[in-house]
Symmetry: C2
Subunit: 554 residues, 2 copies
């Protein structure tokens, strides 16, 4: 079974089948290839339909009940008959099986077991599938899982891929389009770069835009067959909420990446991975990360003031949104052409300086990437210990005290109760400490992990951004050779050097923006972390002080 | 080579060799058997000498240097050619090899690898051997070991074995000697039992004796060939110190066990096991445990006022000590006969009551033994975690913060130093926390472990003590049968019942003594533990508060 996403009109004589958005069809042959499947509509007509126009959502049945009762150490071998995939997974908290993915959280390793069942499946489908699940019953929750810590430091921060192949004749590897273009964009799209105290800086607005992502609500379409989550986005400028689904965020991300990706690292959206044990937890986590992403976008002066971003946060009605959407998709000042809108108000830099800056940023972002990854690894380990063996140990200490106390109660000796009451209280205190320890990572380490995950994502974008600059530098270096070979004119060569300088100013402005944000973010997250850590240790000390006061030596 | 411990005069015609205390002889044949070895003296005379009269101390050479340089994970296979023993041990902190034992602390498992090389070897030799080591070079210390936590919750609290076989015709299993003896001991040895608030109680002295065990000093004999440790024991009554070697404590223990063991559980001395990584640590630990043992003995009204104990703590000179020693060894009011000195000032109990009390104490001590062992197991686990993986993790967290901080320093961005200074400080704070965590068990858990180890030892003595009572009860139950078979008279039967009642009063007095001490000890150790725990968490909170104050958000 599949749902039709968009209208498709069959071309006569091609054995195609016309379908309408919302229609339900049956796939009769999935292995046609070339982006086509064979399907049958409700009237019995059979024909080819483009794969991209439909959404297949069948559920491979998995006996979840038997899985929950299965000892934690026993592996379940999942085999999927329609492709060669098979995996060993242990007792899991969430199992999601549908046409594109098999996904489960392995409680033994705390890793996400994740298998792409069909090689052609796109991540894009994921969000909708997740939204779908409640209605189709395609996931199960095990309440028993005790070590179901979140998958951390994981893969959700994937690097951005700059898509430049939208422009005919534009080589993926080169910034020549901008370096050699005849006319630069003028007008309201102009992006000035000023010289600030720290060097080149973007033009910052007087008041910073801020957005609140809140109030996730279930919406549904297709008569309830299909449900999804809609988030309320409220910008500080209008204070008027607009609704967006995850796929709308994804659309915005794609637009920003296309338009600004060569100059500004656009961090990926929170990934489509299952991170929560329960649906509510998953939605909360996704919302938190969407909020983080939006906040970072709002903080960026170039992005937050861009037309497409403004459309996203302030569209008036459905018509406004659809028109803006179409316009944004038609924007041609994208890819390296974004540099053509930039106007540094400073003298041109020579090539050596441009190259030095580029090298410096490259080194810095690489070593910061290592540092951030180290924190994520260590944090992940610590998270596991704090939610796994450590609280268990405190619990056992608490139980041991309480057990001895109950033995003492049976002594028959007079004047026993003062000691046994105190020992029981001490035992309970250690059980409380066990709980505090287990809950603590969500209160403090969580923020450290989230911030570093965000930075890992951001830093993963730099190699592409820096790559564009390096390519430009190489091109400028070839200048004399190109002139000699009459491929470009002397004037072209001068223009190229000037434009490489503009690119460098942009990179420097972006780095300065990055640094200032980084200093703020790390100060903030460390403050938050240490504050919660202090509270944590103080709470334990206070509990122990109370337990201590109950003991008396004669 | 062997040293002669005591004078031995050969019996003519038996191929024996006369030797004198302090003489050095050479073993020429160790496999004579029957407790004899063949030896040669310095004059070349050869003959048989009793094994017990000499002390063999040769060192099996082990290449300790290569062991220290060996990776921690690599096993060393030690093979001893003179018997079939071979063991895999990992990098170790202490290796002791001599005629009787191969002993090493395995740093990987934290277990003591301990092999009795000769099956006939007695633990008794151990102490002297240890004392010997410095001079003979039979041990080595690895300073590199990082996880050399003490062997905890281990075997040092072995149960006492009541030696009753000193008296001809006295059956090991039975208390008949006392139940049926013709005349009870009278006079100054009398041990009254009073009725106190909690039931039968011993007669407590007005001021409690206390002893300080301190100032371990190395002594030597045999021209420095043999060295030993002497402890200073100072009783609160005379405030005059006397000196004792471990073997003297052991002698005292044997006397107390013989004399009081049927009525009063006499805990074993701290065992002869290697518990410290370094000699000083070992001596300190042994002294601490000897102090604990002495304190417990001093607190016991019957033991502390006994002649042999008083001799041990207040002997005037060597002559006084030797005379007292001889007298104590000749004491015949030992074993079950100690009950003949006891005089309860209360009406006789009937057998049912006697039996009920005995059952109740048996149940209680058994379940307390379980409770204590649970605490030792849990504590041992916790100790390992606190000195092993946990501080390592905090260290890694600290390093990760510091590494990121040093990356930030390289940014070239202005106004970076406030953040990097703060992050470095935070990183160092976590390294300090690592150290605090690793050191904490010695400050708090140590006391919990020591107290519970003491109680484990004490509780291990109860089955024997209670066994004597059960045997007496069984005997009394047989009374009618024995009368019918004319094995005892009717009067004997009445006497037996009366004496079983006396034994029961003694057991109750002892239990009440045990309970009151237990309540005091557990209150005290829990107070101590929780006090140090509070300090620990407060110290960490304070350190983190300081680290927190260095961060500033703009």
């Amino acid at each position: 079974m599949a749902q039709v996403l968009y209208d498709f009109t069959a071309e006569p004589g091609n054995n195609e089948l016309s379908v309408k958005e919302g229609e339900t069809i049956t796939i009769t042959n999935q292995s046609i290839g070339g982006g086509w499947v064979e399907a049958q509509n409700s009237r019995g007509e059979v024909g080819l339909v483009p794969e991209d126009y439909i959404e297949v959502s069948y559920i491979v049945s998995v006996d979840v009940k038997s899985m929950e009762e299965m000892p934690a150490d026993e592996a379940l071998r999942c085999e999927f008959s329609h492709n060669s995939c098979s995996r060993n997974i242990y007792k899991c908290s969430i199992i999601v099986v549908h046409s594109a993915f098999f996904c489960a959280c392995d409680l033994k390793t705390n890793n996400l077991v994740y298998t792409n069942l069909t090689s052609g499946a796109e991540d894009d489908e994921w969000d909708d599938e997740w939204d779908d699940m409640k209605s189709t019953g395609g996931y199960a929750e095990s309440e028993a899982g005790e070590s179901g810590a979140l998958q951390r430091g994981g893969s959700h921060a994937t690097s951005m891929k700059i898509s430049l192949n939208k422009f005919p004749g534009f080589s993926k590897s080169g910034p020549e389009l901008y370096l050699l273009c005849k006319q630069l964009v003028k007008g309201k799209d102009r992006l000035p770069i000023y010289m600030g105290e720290v060097g080149p800086v973007w033009s910052y607005p007087e008041t910073q835009l801020d957005c609140v992502v809140a109030d996730p609500k279930k919406g549904s379409k297709m008569y309830g067959l299909k449900s999804y989550i809609e988030y309320q986005v409220t910008p500080s400028t209008t204070n008027r909420p607009v609704n967006h689904r995850y796929k709308h965020f994804d659309w915005l991300y794609e637009r920003l990446l296309e338009k600004f990706g060569s100059a500004i690292p656009i961090p990926s959206l929170p990934d489509k991975q299952v991170t929560g044990r329960f649906e509510e937890e998953f939605i909360k986590m996704r919302m938190e990360r969407l909020q983080g992403w939006m906040t970072r976008m709002c903080r960026h002066p170039v992005i937050s003031s861009s037309e497409v971003f403004q459309l996203f946060v302030t569209y008036k009605d459905e018509k406004d949104w659809k028109m803006g959407k179409r316009k944004a998709e038609k924007d041609e000042t994208v890819g390296v052409m974004v540099f053509s809108t930039m106007e540094p108000e400073a003298p041109d830099l020579d090539l050596i300086e441009v190259e030095q800056k580029c090298e410096q940023f490259s080194r810095f972002t690489k070593s910061m990437d290592d540092g951030v990854k180290e924190i994520l690894t260590v944090g992940h380990e610590h998270w596991k210990r704090c939610t796994g063996p450590l609280p268990k140990e405190y619990q056992r200490i608490g139980k041991a005290f309480q057990n001895l106390s109950s033995v003492f109660t049976s002594s028959g000796y007079q004047g026993e109760s003062a000691l046994t009451d105190a020992m029981t209280a001490a035992g309970k205190t250690y059980e409380e400490i066990a709980q505090l320890v287990a809950e603590q990572p969500r209160k403090d380490l969580h923020h450290v992990m989230e911030t570093n995950n965000e930075y890992k994502g951001l830093l993963g974008c730099f190699p592409d951004t820096i790559g564009v600059h390096k390519a430009a530098i190489d091109k400028v270096k070839e200048g004399d050779k190109l002139v000699a070979a009459s491929k470009i004119t002397q004037q072209d060569k001068v223009t190229m050097a000037k434009r490489a300088s503009t690119m460098s100013y942009a990179l420097q402005a972006e780095m300065n923006h990055f640094h200032s944000n980084r200093i703020y973010d790390y100060n903030r997250v460390m403050q938050l972390y240490l504050e919660e850590q202090v509270k944590f240790y103080e709470t334990i000390a206070e509990k122990l002080r109370q337990a201590h006061s109950q003991f008396t030596t004669m």
